[in-house]
Amino acid sequence: MVFSQLIEKLIQETTTSSLPYFGAELCLSVTIVLMLLVRLFNADRWLPAYLVAVLGAFAALWCTYSQSAQLNSGSVSDSQTFFGGMLIQDLFSVYFRVFLSLFVLLTIALTALTGIPDIEDGPDFYSLLLGSTIGMMLMASANNLLILFLGIEMTSVPSYAMVGFLKGRKTSSEAALKYVVYGAGAAGVMLYGISLLAGVLGTTDMSLLAVRLSEAAGGQTAGLADPEIRAVTLGVLLVMVGLAFKLSLVPFHFWCPDAFEGASAEVAGFLSVASKAGAFALLVRFCSALSGAAGTEDLLMAFGVSLGVIACITATFGNLAAYNQNNLKRLLAYSTIAHAGYMLMAVSAMMVMQNSGHAQLYQVDIQKSVEGLLYYLAVYLFMNLGAFAVIALARNYTFSEEIDSVKGLISQSPVLCISMMVCMFSLVGIPPFGGFFAKLMIFAAALKAGEIHWFMYVVVAIGGLNTVLSLFYYIRVLKTMFLDERPAQSRAVPIRLFSWEGSFVAVLALLVLLLGTLPRLMSGLSATANAAAHAVVSQL
């Protein structure tokens, strides 16, 4: 083929399929440029940056929504790679794009209400926020190890800057320094792992990983005695370091409480939900890309079980460490760590069932475990954002984020307290809130995986125990808010239900409640999640 033909083919592929699939990311990119242009022409005095950002996020949401409609109607094939096999378009990536654009829309609304970036800094802050979201969308649609790395970096680099956004604050600059030092280190280690994996398997294409892995095993059962398998195992472990850092799993969780305490509550909420979601999307893609090849079942089964071990340790550690925290953001940071542990249980169950040797038999249950993860993430979006929003809104009046600052808040702002109660009960997993059903789905998947490996029963038991453990520290916050007397010298928090702030948190809390009580909404969400799970699992 001559060069000009190659170029023609590239242009044709890019314009007909790649660019439409990349619509949401393009919308966000255009918004970033627009925002900076608006400031360049001094128009930001009458056109605040958040308006431009909201429009951009809304355009991205609309774009992905039409993509999902297209995929559901069956007018395009179920999964298609684009940009030369770098990215993949299926219901799974579309699910995460809808999720992320909805979340970034809500985050922008929250920052507009609390006014954390002032008019002057608005364009900078929203550029970082949207840039980071583009990175997460890339993570969700990655089909190549290069995109895996680029997505993680594109998410992390703007997040470092966002954590340090509160200028002139010692805690904020300290949090950013810790985050960037740990983050850059984890990314470097992960890159080394990718180099081993790509080099030994001879490909960077994630859809080929499983086939090449079984080739490397040479038709026998892969064991660590083989040097190639050993190198691949090391590579996978190092890649997991990078992913575990993003997910704040236990040996790599140090940055999370510090970064959350130093950052503003809005940024902490964004990091706790969106970057977790992106990293889980990537983890599911990476794990299902590795599994399913002949001869590697034992090795990958061990990998799945060790994910279960990490999940148990993470959930237990997060819940125990949250006990003696006095800062609300720090407490929620540990709760975020614990929730990452619960969600990892679903991935572990998926890995164990996929590599049981009877993956066909367990096809439905594998889908169910990923469905549980996706449902959990959707509920987690509303409940965690709700909790962080209450903290951010109360902070604007009390100038503090300590637990004591919300003492007896019920007498001044019932709407904040009741929303916080709904979000926290859902975080614990008490019926009838959304969090209960999400947890139930994950535990059911892990229980099913117990048929294959006994350790998954232990995982379920520890998960259940943790749910009880977590109750106490959430209750402590609620007790402070509801039962204690508001100290006389404390500042007033006059947030009513019928104000922008009050209705924002009330809507979030209502959604958390509806996701646990409205059967139509629940079955709709779980059907969508199931279709998305089917897309990623059926690629085997």
């Binding site: 600059s173 960037v180 990314a187 470097g188 080099g199 190639e228």
Partner: protein, 104 residues
């Protein structure tokens, strides 16, 4: 593939760079020193990529990968140095052990 003797020396250089970088990240107290360790790790991986692309069926993908990594390392260093400067402005030091207001 790995039995090929020529590649091993390149991989050894990559591994030495990686280990030096990790040791540097773990032991340096100076924030800039830690970032230098990160650069060593990234370049160790880069040596690996280029070596694999020469000797294995990874092909040009490896070289493209290392080009992307070079660009990313520059972007990350820019942000990291800005954050280090911000830390210095607030604390008058870049000793990472002095970053101890947040704990618990």
């Amino acid at each position: 593939m790995l039995a090929d003797n020529n590649i091993n020396s390149y991989l050894l250089v990559g591994a030495v760079l990686f280990v030096c970088g990790v040791i540097c990240m773990a032991t340096k107290r100076n924030g800039i020193g830690v970032l230098m360790g990160v650069e060593l790790v990234l370049n160790g991986a880069n040596v690996n990529f280029v070596a694999f692309s020469k000797f294995t069926r990874l092909g040009l993908d490896g070289q493209v990968f290392s080009l992307f990594v070079i660009v990313l390392a520059a972007a990350e260093a820019a942000v990291a140095l800005a954050i280090a400067l911000n830390f210095y402005n607030n604390h008058l030091t870049i000793d990472v052990d002095r970053a101890s207001k947040l704990r618990g």
